[in-house]
Amino acid sequence: MHQPGQKLNGSEIFFECLRREHVDYIFGYPGGSLLKVYETLHDVEDIKHILVRHEQGATHMAEGYARATGRPGVVLVTSGPGATNTVTGIANAYMDSTPMVVFTGQVPSTLIGNDAFQEADIVGITRPITKHNFLVKDVRDLASTIRKAFYLATTGRPGPVLVDMPKDVLAAECVFEWPESVDIRGFKPTFKCHANQVSKAAKMISKAKRPLLYVGGGVVTAGASEALLKLAAEQQIPVTMTLQGLGAFPGDHPLSMGMLGMHGTFWANQAVSNCDLLIAVGARFDDRVTGKIDTFATQALKIHNDIDPTNVDKNVKVDLPVVGDSKDFVESLLNELPKTKEDRSAWLAEIEAWRRQCPLDYTVEKDSLKTEFVIDEISRQTKGHAVIVTDVGQHQMWTSQYYKFTEPRSIVTSGGLGTMGFGLPATIGAAFGVTDRPVITICGDGGLMMNIQELVTAVYHKLPIKIFLMNNSYLGMVRQWQELFHKEKYSFTDLEASNPDFVKVAEAFGCRATSADNPEAARKAISDALAYNDGPMLVDFRVVRKDMVFPMVPAGGSISDMLLARLNPKTMV
């Protein structure tokens, strides 16, 4: 370790900065503009570099790592194509507010703008999908820029930050100085919630007859879960969660109502539509949650706590905005509110009636396999204690319905951007960060193929991840919409004729693999996979092909008006 005051080159400074930011893993891929960095890296032992097989994989790994651990994910890629390959992963992290710092090599500063070999204006390209980004033009600015990048990525509403580093800057020398503190005059997030707003919120809660907590990823980020549990229990307020909020409140708690929105539970959506007070905490009224805005929670007064003021009044007009950290908000409420004297049993009974009216349900048949059953079984065998990483599509929604997440940072999923191909690399990233719980991908056959190259990374590092493939040989969610809303024109969603044999593919990568096509075999495959810890294991679950995710709110529909089961498409308008 070098000390401040020493003369170092840019690459050495780079690693000194990462050390001071307590980085333990970098997900990266070398290239021309980064040769100096990789030369230095050769002798670095305390920071582990994970070689990916595609730069998109690196970004999803960094995100999986960040979401599972709460620490920022770090990516290192070369200029031009290396940099542009990170775009989807950066956009994904931006939409889901994941702390991530992406370092890109750049052509020498003298060549910037000349259409040089492997040049891309990555700062320009990623401006709208990063929280902020930097081009370092002078080695003397490198350390302070990296310091700022980590600060920005992790402070307030987290997000990805990109630092572009020209080749000559990485080779140039200067005296290394590490700024002990960061002060960015244009970046001062509000942590402390305004006391008046909290008091007003407390009054609204104590008056409410039918209150409902609607909590999102902000609760997980803020570490507010414990306080939330206390608040809900003391005040007898039921809790519904967004996709990113799953695990913020224990899914097996009597007050938990599971997810709300498009594929949320019937009872959660009914509760939203019938509550008289909706308390949104660290959630952003996404269109997948609200459905048709005009009919969303029309009977309710709305309180909205979010650390990002732009989220307030963006989609839904609220009655009481409370800008600030969600942990501060919930803890302040706990201080303000005496244990409730309101009898909320009638409200809870009403919800219970909705739950009984339309429970989540599926049928089990002896010789065919349903995704719902597989996920339910994974939930049972892991006791809701695993880190579950999903890809995007039907299996993702079934996971949100049937896996009982019991603690925060248990679900890693691409929510905002809906990036197919996210699952496998994000699982790998999560497995580097989390070693005391099983780390499991639940993915589909479409998404798995999008980043299957990263199987190499998992095999090489002997990561004990479980790749649970829900293989229906369809792009299932698109197929579902085609069946329901597009005249059953199954354009380019049937993969049966083109899919590979996934067991053989996995084995060719050196990954243990098996398949299962009935409940008994599935049960055994899951327990075998959970018992195997010498490397990754893939299970190809041959699930029924044309299953659909219900309940469902059709896009643009009202959440009080869900499709509960398959309708005959011919009777639909």
């Binding site: 700062v123 320009g124 401006r127 709208p128 929280k131 902020h132 081009l135 920005l152 960015i184 005059r185 244009g186 970046f187 990002d308 003021p309 732009t310 307030v312 009044d313 963006k314 007009k317």
Partner: protein
């Protein structure tokens, strides 16, 4: 309605792009934008003219604030302020119109900044409304080219 927003930003490359790109990415209206250095060379002032209902304007202000390179965002619309725009306009010139053009220019406290046999260039400074009126009034003479700076604005008074 029309809003006049003054934004202090870091005087760094790419800042204008960040602001303009945010407007286009979020579908906000951007009628004019002008930028220049302030008394502090590390800080620039942007003056933005935009239109929208209150809910949209409140989003515009919050999204501007959210950018890391913005230091201070002020909606001047309902505060005492001075707003000015510069118009440079080249007109067709002939013996018969010369007199009238000069007279009209005086009405707008304009300045002749260039004159040739067949053309005259006039400078007018004023509120964007005044500039609009000036353009309308000069139009019959035949506008050859025109350039507007976009509004710049500043608080009036001590605050």
């Amino acid at each position: 309605m029309k809003h006049l927003i003054s934004v202090l930003v870091e005087n760094k490359f790419g800042t204008l792009n960040r602001v303009a790109a945010m407007f286009s990415a979020r579908g906000f209206n951007l009628e004019s934008i002008s930028i220049g250095e302030t008394e502090d060379p590390e800080v620039s002032r942007m003056t933005i003219v935009t239109r929208g209902e209150d809910r949209i304007i409140s989003q515009v202000l919050k999204q501007l604030n959210r950018l890391v390179d913005t230091i201070k965002v002020t909606d001047l619309t309902h505060q005492p302020h001075v707003e000015r725009e510069l118009l440079l306009m080249s007109l067709k010139l002939s013996k018969s119109t010369q007199h009238e053009i000069f007279e009209l220019s005086n009405v707008f406290k304009g300045k002749v900044v260039d004159i040739k046999q067949k053309s005259i260039t006039i400078e007018v400074i004023g509120s964007p409304d005044k500039i609009n009126t000036a353009i309308d009034m000069f139009r019959p003479f035949g506008i050859r080219e025109l350039a507007r700076s976009g509004a710049v604005a500043i608080h009036r008074g001590d605050s």
